[in-house]
C-alpha cells in the first residue's frame, strides 16, 4: 500500500484524502448528554465519527451508541419518503406518497377532528429526541389541544417533581467541591458517559462514594459503602437514615428551625423507622444503614446524586424520592458548595446552562385555563398541578373510555409503544383512534399503526441548538444532506402549522393584539417537502433573545462556544429569595400533596409504602411469582429501542437476556445462555439467562423494548404511582422457568471464579 492509500484506509482527514471533519452533536440518547461529534465526511457521506474535543461536556469521548452513529444514520430501516397506509393497521403495508399529499392528508384529518370533536380530541406526543419538544407543544396549543404528552411521562419528571415538592426546584450534586457522593440509584457510568470521567476523577481525588442500588452496577463497584436494598424500598432506607441523623443530633438545627416546614411531624414519623425496622424492609444490614447515615451527615459537604428513573419507577416512587431528597436539607447540604445546588434552567431545561431563554413563553402560547382538562388531569392531580404536560400513562384509559371527552387523533414524534406498561393494551387503544400520524427516523413496530408516516432526519442531517452545564452552547448545521426525502422535525412542525393556518410564527402575539403578524418564513420545496430553516432560526433568535445570543453569532462557532457572561453560580440563594415552594420553605410536609390526601397513596409526609406488588404486600402472588422484576435497567450499548437494529451495538449483546443472580439460577437449574420463560400474571416472554452477580438474589432485571421479548408487556397499564403517574417498572413480581439449554455457539462471557 502506498502512503496515500494507507491514509485513505486509515481515514486521515486532509486535502490529500478528501476527508473533511464537520462538527455536529449526537442525540441518540437524550438525557442532557449530546456529546460533540466530529463527522469524517468524504464525497457527502460520513465514513467515521469521533468525539469533538472542543465540547467541554464530552471532551472528545463517545459512548458505544454514539460511536455506532454511522450504521444508525445509514440504516436500511430509515424512512426515506412519506408513507400512506394501505393494509390494515399493524400490517406494515404502506405506499410512498409525496410530502404534499402526506401533509395535506394530515391537515385535512386534524381539521375534520377539530370540527367534529373539538381540538382537544387530538393528542400531540414527543418521544426522542427532545430538541423539538417546545415546537410540538406550541403546535398543540395553537391548534387548541391541551393534550401534549412526552416520554417524560415515564422518565425524569417524577424525580424533578419530588425535589420540587421539597425544595421548589431540582438541585444537582456539586461534584467538583464535594467530599462524599451519595449515589441514590442509577449508573451514570453507562447511562451518562460524559460524566463518567468526572466521577472517576472524584474517586481518585479521594471523594467517598456511598451507593444505594439493588444492582452491583459499575458505579456500585466504586462504592466505599454499597447499600444493596430490595427494589422499591428506598423510602424506608432514607427514613431510617434520617432517624439515625436526628437521633444522633447530626442534623443542621439552624437550617431546620429557620427554613423548613413540618419538621416536627417528620421527626415523629421517622422515629418509627429504626435501622432495625429498615433492615427488615430493605434487607440492608443495620450497621450499613447507620454507617451511611453518619458518613453522609458528617462529611461536610456531601452531595447526593439522584437518577432520572430507577428511584421513581415505583408505585411509591415520588414518596421514596422525596424521603431521599430531604436528607440534603436535613444535613445542611442544600445550596452550599459541594452539596446540592439548584441552578437556573437554560434552553431545553439544562440546569446551569448559564443563560436565560424564552422556552416557556414559546411553548405555551395559551394557558391551561383556556383549554379543556388535559390527559390525566383527574387521575394525577399532583402531576397536573406541577407539570406543563399531559400524563401519557392515562392515555389507555382515556382513549378506551372516552371519559371526560373523546380522543380521536394522534400526532406523534418518535412514539415507541413498548414504553408503556401493558404495551399491547396501548396498541389496542391506539388502534381505536380515528387518525394517526407518526413521525420517525425508522420504520418501527409502532409506525405500522399509523395512517400517515412522515420521515424525520437525524441530528447530523439537521440544525439544532443545545446547551451544556459547562456554560457552553452550540447551534449545529447539517453535516450531510437529509437521507431520501427525510426532513428535520422542526421543518415538519412548521409545515403542518402553516398548512393548518395557525399563527405559529407570531411570537409576540401581535395578531391577537390586533397588530400585523410578521411575514412567515419558509415554505415548501417543488416536491412539496417543508423547508423552514429560516423559520427555525428566527424562532431560536426569539427564544434566545434574553440571553443576548443570536443564531448568526452561534453559527460562526461550528463546535459551539462558551456562553457569554454566564449567570454565575451562587449559593444559599434561599436566604434572599426563600424557597420557591408554596410556604417559601423547604417542605417536610408538602403544601401541594397535602391537598390531595383523600387520594390513596398521597400524603403530606414522605410516607413509605411497599411497592404494590412485592413479597411483603402481595405474598400470595409472590408465592407463584417469587422474584422481584425490574424492567428497563440500562445496558451500555442500547438506549430504549434505538440501537437493536444496529449491527455494531447488537453484536455486543445479540440476544434478549434476563439478569439472574447465580443463587437464583442454581435454584431454577439454569446456566448461562439457557432459554427461560419470564412470566407475570399478565403474560410471559422467552429470553436467555444472563447469570451474573450484577443482580441481587431474588431480583431479575430485564432490559426493555426488545421486539421479540417485550418485558413491558408483562406489566399492567395501571401499575402506576398515584402522585406522578410513573409506572412501577423497577419493582413488580415475576417467575422464571427453564425452557431449554443454551445453544452450543452461545457467545457470551461466562462467569469466572478466581
Amino acid at each position: 500500500m502506498d502512503k496515500l492509500q494507507r491514509m485513505i484506509k486509515g481515514k486521515i482527514p486532509g486535502e490529500a484524502t478528501g476527508i473533511e471533519v464537520r462538527k455536529s452533536i449526537c442525540t441518540i440518547c437524550d438525557p442532557q448528554t449530546q456529546c460533540g461529534l466530529d463527522c469524517y465526511v468524504k464525497d457527502g457521506r460520513i465514513i467515521k465519527v469521533e468525539g469533538s474535543r472542543e465540547n467541554p461536556h464530552s471532551e472528545g469521548t463517545l459512548c458505544a451508541k454514539g460511536a455506532a452513529q454511522r450504521q444508525w444514520v445509514y440504516h436500511e430501516d430509515r424512512l426515506r419518503t412519506p408513507l400512506r397506509r394501505v393494509g390494515p393497521r399493524g400490517s406494515g403495508e404502506f405506499v410512498p406518497i409525496s410530502w404534499s399529499e402526506a401533509l395535506d392528508t394530515v391537515v385535512e384529518n386534524l381539521n375534520r377532528l377539530k370540527a367534529e370533536s373539538g381540538p382537544e380530541s387530538v393528542i400531540f406526543y414527543c418521544g426522542y429526541p427532545k430538541q423539538m419538544r417546545p415546537f410540538v407543544q406550541r403546535l398543540a396549543f395553537l391548534f387548541g389541544s391541551p393534550n401534549y404528552c412526552t416520554e417524560s411521562s415515564t422518565c425524569f419528571t417524577a424525580m424533578a417533581m419530588a425535589w420540587r415538592l421539597v425544595y421548589g426546584q431540582m438541585a444537582g450534586p456539586d461534584l467538583a467541591h464535594t467530599k462524599l457522593l451519595l449515589v441514590w440509584t442509577g449508573n451514570p457510568l453507562w447511562s451518562g458517559t460524559p460524566n463518567a470521567r468526572r466521577l472517576m476523577d472524584a474517586k481518585e481525588r479521594g471523594v467517598k462514594f456511598v451507593v444505594v442500588d439493588p444492582r452491583k452496577s459499575p458505579i456500585a463497584g466504586l462504592a466505599d459503602l454499597h447499600l444493596q436494598l430490595r427494589p422499591g424500598t428506598d423510602g424506608a432506607l432514607a427514613l431510617a437514615m434520617a432517624n439515625v441523623i436526628i437521633k444522633e443530633g447530626l442534623y443542621d438545627r439552624g437550617f431546620v428551625a429557620e427554613w423548613t416546614r413540618g419538621f416536627d411531624e417528620y421527626r415523629i414519623y421517622v422515629a418509627g423507622f429504626s435501622p432495625e425496622r429498615a433492615e427488615e424492609i430493605t434487607g440492608v444490614p443495620v450497621e450499613l444503614i447507620r454507617q451511611a447515615a453518619v458518613m453522609y451527615a458528617t462529611a461536610k459537604p456531601a452531595a447526593m446524586m439522584p437518577s432520572s428513573t430507577p428511584l421513581v419507577h415505583h408505585t411509591n416512587g415520588v414518596q421514596n424520592q422525596r424521603a431521599a431528597a430531604m436528607l440534603v436539607g436535613l444535613t445542611g447540604n442544600f445550596d452550599v458548595p459541594g452539596g446540592n445546588v439548584p441552578q437556573a434552567l437554560a434552553w431545553l431545561e439544562v440546569p446551569g446552562g448559564g443563560f436565560p431563554a424564552r422556552d416557556h413563553a414559546f411553548k405555551m402560547p395559551r394557558q391551561w385555563s383556556e383549554m379543556p382538562p388535559r390527559v390525566g388531569a383527574e387521575r394525577f392531580p399532583v402531576w397536573t398541578e406541577m407539570i406543563d404536560q399531559g400524563q401519557a400513562m392515562d392515555l389507555v384509559r382515556h382513549i378506551t373510555t372516552g371519559d371526560p371527552y373523546p380522543l380521536r387523533g394522534f400526532v406523534g414524534f418518535g412514539l415507541n409503544y413498548r414504553m408503556f406498561p401493558g404495551s399491547p393494551r396501548f396498541l389496542e387503544a391506539l388502534d381505536k383512534l380515528d387518525f394517526i400520524c407518526l413521525v420517525d427516523l425508522f420504520a418501527t413496530d409502532t409506525t405500522k399503526y399509523a395512517d400517515i408516516v412522515l420521515p424525520a432526519c437525524s441530528s447530523v442531517e439537521r440544525s439544532e441548538v443545545r446547551a451544556y452545564p459547562q456554560k457552553h452552547i452550540i447551534a449545529t448545521e447539517p453535516v450531510i444532506a437529509p437521507l431520501g426525502q427525510s426532513r428535520s422535525d422542526t421543518d415538519i412542525i412548521f409545515g403542518l402549522a402553516q398548512k393548518l393556518g395557525l399563527p405559529y410564527q407570531d411570537y409576540d402575539g401581535v395578531s391577537s393584539n390586533g397588530g400585523t403578524p410578521p411575514p412567515e418564513l419558509g415554505g415548501f420545496l417543488p416536491d412539496g417537502s417543508p423547508e423552514f430553516s429560516a423559520a427555525f432560526e428566527a424562532a431560536m433568535d426569539w427564544i434566545l433573545e434574553p440571553s443576548g445570543m443570536t443564531m448568526a453569532e452561534l453559527k460562526k462557532h461550528p463546535a459551539g462556544m462558551p456562553v457569554p457572561n454566564p449567570i454565575p453560580v451562587s449559593y444559599r440563594k434561599y436566604e434572599k429569595n426563600g424557597f420557591p415552594t408554596p410556604s417559601g420553605k423547604m417542605e417536610f410536609v408538602s403544601s401541594i400533596t397535602e391537598k390531595y390526601t383523600d387520594r390513596e397513596g398521597i400524603d403530606g409526609l414522605p410516607v413509605y409504602r411497599e411497592p404494590r406488588l412485592s413479597p411483603v404486600s402481595t405474598p400470595e402472588t409472590a408465592a407463584r411469582y417469587p422474584l422481584v422484576l425490574g424492567t428497563g435497567t440500562r445496558l451500555p450499548m442500547f438506549i430504549h429501542s434505538r440501537m437493536f437494529r444496529v449491527p455494531w451495538t447488537r453484536s455486543l449483546r445479540r440476544e434478549a437476556m434476563v439478569d439472574l443472580n447465580p443463587a437464583d439460577a442454581a435454584k431454577y437449574g439454569v446456566v448461562q445462555g439457557d432459554l427461560v420463560e419470564l412470566s407475570t400474571p399478565e403474560g410471559s416472554i422467552r429470553v436467555r439467562a444472563n447469570v451474573t452477580h450484577l443482580a441481587a438474589p431474588g431480583v431479575a432485571h430485564m432490559y426493555h423494548d426488545y421486539p421479540e421479548a417485550d418485558v413491558n408487556s408483562l406489566l399492567s397499564p395501571d401499575y402506576l404511582d398515584p402522585i406522578s403517574g410513573f409506572p412501577g417498572f423497577k419493582a413488580s413480581l415475576c417467575a422464571v422457568r427453564k425452557v431449554s439449554e443454551a445453544a452450543p455457539d452461545f457467545d457470551l462471557p461466562q462467569e469466572v471464579a478466581r
Binding site: 467515521k48 469521533e50 457510568l189 458517559t193 472517576m200 479521594g206 451500555p636 462471557p749 471464579a753
Partner: protein, 168 residues
C-alpha cells in the same frame, strides 16, 4: 514511536465505547458466523470467598515485542511496522493456517469471511498522522491509553504512590 496500550482497570466500566469505535474506524463486519471485532470488552466476576467483584477489561492486540504470532507465522504475513512498532498483518500473504491463534497468548487473531487473519493494527495510520487510536479517543473514562510504555507505567506508578499515602 511508542506503541503500548495501557488499561487502567480501576477506570474501565465495560461501556464498550472502545469496541464500537474500533468497528467504525476499521469498517468491521460483526455479524455471524464470522464476527471480527478487534477489540473486546469482558465482564469478569471475581469471587473471593463470599465477596464478589465485577471487573471490566478491554482487550485488543498487545503488539508484543517478541510477538509469538509473528514467530509462528509460516508465510511471513505478520510483520512489525517500522515507524509505529505495531505488529501488523498483510492479508495477501496470510494462508489462513491459524498458527498465530495457537501462538498468541491473548486470543487476539480473528478470521473474516475471506479466512485471512485480521486484528488491531494500533491505528498505525492515525498514529503517523499524530492522532490517537480510535478506541483510546472514545473511552469515556480515559481508562484506555496508548503511548510510550515507560511513560504509561510511570503514570500508573504515580497513582500507586498516591494510594499508598491515602492508605496511611
Amino acid at each position: 514511536m511508542s506503541h503500548a496500550f495501557y488499561l487502567d482497570l480501576d477506570r474501565c466500566t465495560g461501556c464498550f465505547a472502545c469496541a464500537v469505535a474500533c468497528m467504525d474506524q476499521n469498517d468491521l463486519e460483526v455479524s455471524r458466523p464470522e464476527p471480527t471485532a478487534w477489540r473486546q470488552v469482558f465482564a469478569i466476576e471475581a469471587t473471593t470467598g463470599s465477596e464478589v467483584r465485577i471487573r471490566y477489561v478491554s482487550l485488543a492486540c498487545m503488539h508484543c515485542e517478541d510477538a509469538p504470532c509473528l514467530m509462528a507465522c509460516p508465510s511471513g504475513a505478520i510483520a512489525r511496522d517500522a515507524a509505529t512498532r505495531a505488529v501488523t498483518v498483510n492479508a495477501d500473504l496470510c494462508i489462513g493456517c491459524h498458527s498465530c491463534s495457537i501462538a498468541c497468548p491473548f486470543g487476539v487473531p480473528r478470521f473474516g469471511k475471506d479466512g485471512r487473519m485480521q486484528k488491531c493494527d494500533l491505528c498505525s495510520a492515525r498514529l503517523e498522522a499524530g492522532l490517537e487510536p480510535a478506541c483510546v479517543r472514545a473511552c469515556p473514562t480515559r481508562a484506555l491509553k496508548q503511548g510510550d510504555p515507560n511513560l504509561l507505567t510511570l503514570e500508573a506508578e504515580k497513582k500507586a504512590a498516591a494510594r499508598l499515602v491515602a492508605g496511611t
